[in-house]
Symmetry: C2
Subunit: 142 residues, 2 copies
Amino acid sequence: MLKNSEFIDKLRSSGLRPTKQRLKICEVLFNRDKTFHFTINDLAKNISEQLNEKISLATVYNTVHAFKNKGYLKEISINSDKSYFDTNITNHHHFFDEDSNELIDCDEDVIENLNIKKNITGKKINSVEVLIKVASDNQNQN
Amino acid sequence: MLKNSEFIDKLRSSGLRPTKQRLKICEVLFNRDKTFHFTINDLAKNISEQLNEKISLATVYNTVHAFKNKGYLKEISINSDKSYFDTNITNHHHFFDEDSNELIDCDEDVIENLNIKKNITGKKINSVEVLIKVASDNQNQN
DNA sequence: ATATAAATTATAATTATTCTAAACTGTTGA
DNA sequence: TCAACAGTTTAGAATAATTATAATTTATAT
């Protein structure tokens, strides 16, 4: 459980003003035991459940993007109509449950020896993401 | 270079009527030497360049989804405002060039021994996709 | 040929996201 | 302390991809 002053320091140190909206969003995102996988909509709902004044949707978008750019959030590649974010910024991979549209972290021992042996000339690798799509065993796939 | 009659057979055999729109789309998608990575917009533009009568955008969407459901196309996971599709339906992975928003197939020898050792209980694995995001070496990442 | 189901179409509707411009707030330094 | 300025928030409009609708057209089986 992080203190408010810790969030203030963190934001200031990365050049973001610690506004009350951002502090609230920090609290919702980072005061958790487990990784939080969310869409903007999940986050907005989560905030409004915990708060009587509302935070504008535009601010939620702005803040999530600011946090992503500062490296406090990761965006996860899923071909979907929405973007997914992850509070776990360590190098790790995901299952995506197509039944529930839910992301699940892969434990380290799920993927063995992932090793990229070549790269495109003149480019640097920014990220390597593995996405394992799963669905209920008895589901009709048509 | 596949013949029209081959596309007709293929469509019929999967329960899709071989309409002239679908045949034209088959031609654009599958009469190629190399894998085609595309967005709906890419495809629509490609069609309209080759055709004097137009195919409705709704039909392009319908057809791409039908082909995907029949397994003639793969959808690639990228967090982007658009969906990307691939005519290469074999098991393979991708680079995504963030400078140009372009997908590039990974050769088989790029990723070594990708091995999924565990799965979510009660689910079956539908796909495993690796996406390697790259960008120009000297690019500012903020 | 004709009936029927499937497909196409233009257009409207929906949804996620970004933009805009005005109001507000945090911070700096006189 | 407080004025000024840049950074932030905000509601709502704008944009863009995609899906839905409902009428028309087409493929095919009889």
